[in-house]
């Protein structure tokens, strides 16, 4: 009798909280999405992408400057990438117009052949430049694609080079609304204060984590918390990609005009904004 009463009580008490949680799950993920991919109106960063092959201690490094401009908060964005390293691909440029509900517009310029190559933008899960990141990981997976739920609140400790940093997070679970090839489920741990994703796990249809993302070195740049070091691992393949942001060459709201995100810039990069 007593147990039945307590059960009833529990149900009464917690039932409403489940519904509110469902609403706030979407909110959390939306906030997280905006905080990590739509910081400022525009931005520029020099990034180093270090791809570690299986078992390798020495990565293959690509250094590039990335410019972006947000057209709609949580919506369209434009990117321009200028490659600096390795030396033999220097001046290679890449232009992306990102859309939420249609295929991206992608153009790659190859200076050695002086050709602009249209790249199909349909497959957002494809690897980005041979790294462990997908295009979607780089430009952000839109929160509307998944059904989100809060699993709980967890403390996540990230071991950095010299110290360990602890975050209070929402542990989230997201399931694609439409069945996808690779992703069966995404688990993410979102920092409660900054809404920065601290850790994300991509789970395949076999129930295995096939990619694991972690944020390191969160610094405030131009007033925005910015992840200076991000690591994406592919545990099943033994590979890993680290993306580093140049601490001095990462800025927001520089007033980068939208008209530089055009095909013409591929051959004549807007050096003014790249340096």
């Amino acid at each position: 009798m007593k147990t039945l009463l307590s059960l009833l009580l529990t149900l009464l008490l917690f039932a409403p909280s489940i519904t509110t949680a469902a609403e706030s799950a979407d909110e959390i993920m939306k906030k997280a999405h905006l905080k990590s991919y739509y910081v400022g109106d525009d931005g520029r960063s020099i990034m180093a992408m270090l791809v570690y092959a299986k078992g390798a201690s020495k990565p293959l490094q690509k250094t590039f400057t990335i410019l972006k401009r947000d057209l709609e908060e949580g919506g369209r964005q434009k990117f321009f990438i200028y490659f600096q390293k390795p030396a033999d691909i220097k001046k290679t440029t890449f232009l992306v117009h990102k859309y939420v509900d249609q295929d991206d517009y992608r153009r790659l310029y190859i200076p050695a052949s002086d050709k602009v190559i249209p790249i199909a933008g349909s497959r957002k899960q494809d690897p980005f430049m041979g790294s462990d990141y997908s295009y979607e990981d780089i430009s952000g997976r839109h929160f509307s694609k998944d059904q989100h739920s809060i699993v709980g609140e967890e403390t996540i400790t990230i071991q950095e080079k010299k110290k360990s940093v602890t975050y209070q997070t929402y542990a989230m679970e997201s399931v694609p609304k439409e069945k996808e090839d690779k992703i069966a489920k995404i688990k993410s741990w979102i920092d409660k204060t900054t809404y920065t994703p601290i850790q994300v796990e991509f789970i395949n249809h076999d129930g295995k984590v096939y990619k694991r993302y972690r944020s390191y070195k969160i610094q405030t740049i131009d007033g925005f918390p910015t992840i200076m070091r991000r690591v994406m691992e592919s545990p099943l393949e033994g590979t890993r990609t680290v993306i580093l942001l140049h601490p001095k060459k990462t800025n927001y709201n520089l007033g980068i005009p939208e008209d530089i995100f055009v095909d013409r810039s591929l051959r004549n990069p807007p050096m003014k904004y790249l340096k």
């Binding site: 180093a48 390795p86 190559i117 690591v231 590979t239």
Partner: protein, 882 residues
């Protein structure tokens, strides 16, 4: 000394000998369940062999694997690229990807045997389910990607066939796409689409599961194939592993079959089942003990050691026949059984000791080859031969002592009153030698000369697929698939630009804890110093251009018969050309580093596997590149010929030289690797090793003969039948054009070990008898009755006994059977005809009757001595070798 001790022990403790033999046999038998096999030729070479080091390094650096290939063939030559055909191929691929290794079936037998052993740990490992294939790298129509341009003209990397097509036109389009993609062309399908290939790379260390994989794949393929279609499996790993599996079956069928025939022949000769069981038991014990010791010592059974039983059997039987034969002839002459046994053992002790030692020398000399499995083989057979001798000395007399009197009596009587055809034959041999000795010697000389000519004609060549008889499903597969596809024999050409001496190998990829140095290399990610010019590497225009040339050349090389050797070459060149053609409408190969790098970048950025397929052809640091060469023919002489031609090409077209920033000039290095190449390296080592082992043991045996007979001339005479046998057999091989391959190389030591036996017995007996009778004619009469008869019985038992091997499905077994036949016949006839002919012609020099000693009246001790030192030393001085 040893002799008396052994025989005393055998006679006095006959029962104990039986019990001990049984126990020892049980002990070694217990080793058999833990038997592991290994048919990997890579393990046949010392692991520090440069070719093996390069091979292992290459597999790791480029993440490439040995492959098994499934072919699905339309017999009428029509295309499989239909909605129905591709749907089935899609399903077959799906199921193949699901294949997992199975742990061995548990059985109470194994459990029981394992419980008395110390192999539990090993077993745990064996029970894990492992992947056999590198599933990510399986190449099938439904797993590979193709670089295309979509309707909007955009570049797209997409699976060639993610889901089976719904329209026939789409199905045909897939074949067109394969034929237009140099990376896929000739691999996934024949140009006409009538044969589809599925390439299954094997996980490291899983080559010995390829037979199992093959069986699973066959089961899947059979499920989906319709009338008019066949499936085939090809690739060296499957040939080698299938051989490994079939050899056990064959061994299980043909070794007992040979045993049965030998048993029947022995029964025919000696008519006493009870007595002839002894040699059968003895042979089995020698085999079980030697093999058991081999397994206990932790060795795996490879192709060569699988032949140990079949080598040991005849040797063990030979020893017994001499004893039984002698016993058969002289049993009735003695009063007691013990006396008879002692007398026979005493008489045969010396020749048996020497035949055993010479045989052991023949096999142990194999250790000089430096090839681990050959060494193991040589030592094990040598050990087995010793065991056979020991058992003949102890087990056989003990067994005889325990037999019931009646059987022995009958056996003895049978001897005296039977005038057999065997006798007639040996008398016939004697007569030939007596009447036309010069003719015999002349014939032998002609034979010798012809043999030497024949040996010059020997073609050294091997190919594991040829170990299966014509018509074997693997031979058919080999034919059909290499006819239609680029080739099922994989080799690799490795290109390397060594770093200048003063630059350390910063680029080496060493395995380390990723977390530990996660930050290590990132510190200077943004440092400006890296602005300096990059080091020249494989991306350099002239190197890529040169690789393109090599590729063209390899495809153009034709063998002596005018056939193309290489059906397909895949490398970075193809990736660059495909990218150029599809993305930039420019099919020419880039000629400058920037263009190469940017094409590679384009491929990598579009690739669905993060450029994985490209990194199989060039290392990430750019220091090395690799070409995947598909040969249509797995014969070692084909890749050797290709290598010779490639070297010629490189002499006239020197590989490019690059200049490092420190001013050092370094030339591009090119080396062969891959399983097909490893096989040819192994063959070279084998052939050379065997040759020097044979020459070495020939020398040792000769010295032993000189020592045994205390005479250079008699020593040389003793070597004659053996030399003639070896030369005749290998000369014959040269004439009929049979390839000198691994089994034939190994058999040279057996030939030596077996064929010297007869002449030892014969000469020893001839001289002993002559000493006794001092009359040439009488001596001949007597040895024709005894020793010659025993030799001829041996010839018949072994040559006929191993005839069942002629019907074996595996060529090496047929070869072994034929060798036994030839060795016995040639060395037997040359001992029984040629030796007496020479002695007849040269008796005046050869048989100077001993003057001083009269062996008949000697005491036991003295007689023993004279056994060790037969005839007079003078002989040696008086004669010159001719």
């Amino acid at each position: 000394m040893i002799q008396r001790f052994l025989i005393d022990f055998a006679i006095k403790h006959a029962k104990l000998v039986m019990v001990l033999s049984g126990l020892i046999t049980l002990f070694f038998l217990a080793a058999f369940p833990s038997l592991t096999t290994d048919t990997d030729p890579v393990k046949m070479l010392p692991q520090d062999n440069p070719a093996i080091v390069l091979y292992n390094q290459m597999k790791k650096e480029f993440d490439v694997h040995d492959m098994v290939v499934l072919g699905i063939n339309k017999r009428d030559g029509s295309s499989l690229f239909t909605v129905d055909g591709l749907t089935r191929i899609h399903k077959i691929t799906q199921e193949i990807l699901e294949i997992k290794d199975h742990p061995p079936e548990p059985s109470w037998m194994l459990d029981l045997l394992h419980s008395v052993q110390f192999l539990k740990e090993q077993d745990k490992e064996r029970n894990e389910i492992k992947d056999i294939m590198v599933t990510d790298d399986v190449m099938s129509i439904s797993t590979v990607d193709d670089i295309v341009r979509n309707a909007a003209g955009e570049l797209k990397v997409a699976p060639l066939m993610q889901t089976p097509p719904r329209k026939e036109a789409e199905a045909r389009q897939i074949l067109t796409a394969i034929n237009e993609n140099p990376i896929l062309q000739g691999k996934l399908a024949s140009a006409d689409g009538s044969l589809v290939g599925i390439f299954m790379p094997l996980q490291e260390g899983m080559k010995d599961r390829s037979y199992f994989l093959g069986e699973e794949v066959k089961r899947i393929a059979a499920k989906y194939l319709v009338d008019g279609e066949d499936y085939y499996l090809a690739g060296l790993p499957i040939a080698e592993n299938t051989f490994g599996n079939e050899m056990f079956v064959q061994m299980g069928v043909y070794a007992p079959a040979a045993g049965l025939v030998i048993f029947l022949l022995l029964f025919y000769f000696f008519r006493s089942i009870k007595l002839i069981i002894a040699p059968m038991l003895l042979a089995m014990m020698a085999v079980i003990w030697a093999m058991g010791a081999l397994i206990y010592s932790g060795n795996t059974i490879h192709i060569m050691s699988s032949m140990i039983p079949i080598f040991l059997m005849p040797i063990a039987v030979l020893d017994c026949i001499h004893i039984i034969s002698k016993l058969h002839q002289s049993y009735h002459k003695y009063d007691t059984r013990e006396e008879a046994v002692r007398a026979v053992m005493k008489e045969l002790f010396n020749p048996m000791l020497y035949t055993t030692i010479t045989t052991i020398v023949g096999f142990v000399s194999l250790t000089s080859t430096g090839i681990p499995p050959v060494m193991v083989f040589g030592i094990t057979v040598g050990f087995g031969v010793f065991l056979a001798w020991l058992l003949s000395m102890v087990f056989l007399p003990a067994y005889t002592m325990l037999m019931d009197e009646e059987a022995l009596q009958k056996f003895g009587q049978a001897a005296s009153d039977k005038k057999s055809w065997i006798m007639n034959m040996t008398v016939g041999f004697k007569n030939i030698a007596a009447k036309v000795p010069v003719f015999v010697i002349a014939t032998a000389t002609v034979l010798l000369v012809l043999s030497v000519v024949g040996i010059q004609k020997i073609i050294v060549n091997d190919n594991p697929v040829r170990w299966f008889k014509e018509g074997h499903v693997l031979r058919q597969a080999d034919q059909v698939m290499n006819d239609k596809l680029a080739g099922t024999y994989m080799a690799n050409l490795v290109f390397e630009l060594p770093l200048p001496a003063d630059m350390n190998t910063n680029f080496s990829t060493t395995v380390s804890d990723p977390e530990a140095d996660a930050f290590g290399d990132e510190e200077d990610a943004f440092s400006e110093e890296a602005e300096q010019a990059p080091l020249p590497d494989m991306k350099n225009g002239e190197i890529v251009q040169y690789m393109g040339k090599i590729q063209q050349y390899l495809l153009s090389v034709k063998n002596q018969e005018g056939q193309v050797i290489v059906g397909g070459v895949t490398s970075l060149v193809d990736i660059l050309q495909k990218v150029g053609k599809t993305a930039l409408d420019d099919p020419t190969l880039p000629d400058n580093r920037e263009q190469v790098a940017q094409y590679m970048f384009l491929f990598e950025s579009g690739d669905l596997k993060k450029g994985k397929d490209m990194w199989k052809f060039i290392t990430r640091d750019g220091r090395k590149a690799q070409m995947w060469v598909q040969l249509k023919n797995g014969d070692n002489n084909q890749i050797n010929y290709l290598n010779v031609r490639l070297n010629e090409f490189m002499r006239t077209n020197q590989p490019p030289t690059v200049t490092y920033p420190n001013g050092e000039n370094v030339q591009l290095q090119i080396q062969w690797s891959g399983l097909t190449y490893i096989n040819s390296v192994w063959q070279d080592e084998m052939v050379n090793g065997m040759r020097s082992a044979l020459i070495g043991s020939f020398g040792i045996v000769f010295l032993m003969m000189v020592f045994l007979f205390r005479s250079l001339v008699w020593g040389a005479l003793a070597m004659l039948p053996l030399s003639l046998t070896i030369l005749a057999i290998y000369g014959f091989i040269g004439y009929i054009g049979k390839y000198y391959d691994m089994p034939i190389a190994v058999l040279s030591s057996l030939t030596l070990g077996l064929s010297v036996d007869f002449s030892i017995h014969y000469i020893e007996s001839l001289r002993a008898t002559y000493r006794k009778l001092k009359n040439f004619q009488e001596t001949y009469e007597e040895i024709s009755n005894e020793t010659a008869k025993a030799i001829w019985q041996n010839v018949l038992v072994i040559s006929i006994g191993f005839m069942p091997l002629f019907f074996a499905g595996l060529v090496p077994y047929v070869t072994v059977g034929s060798f036994f036949f030839a060795i016995m016949l040639v060395s037997g006839v040359s001992t029984l005809v040629l030796l007496p002919s020479i002695v007849t012609v040269g008796k005046r020099w050869l048989l100077k009757a001993p003057q001083q000693k009269q062996p008949g009246n000697l005491s036991k001790e003295e007689e023993n001595e004279s056994d060790m030192a037969p005839t007079v030393q003078k002989v040696q001085v008086a004669t010159e070798p001719t």
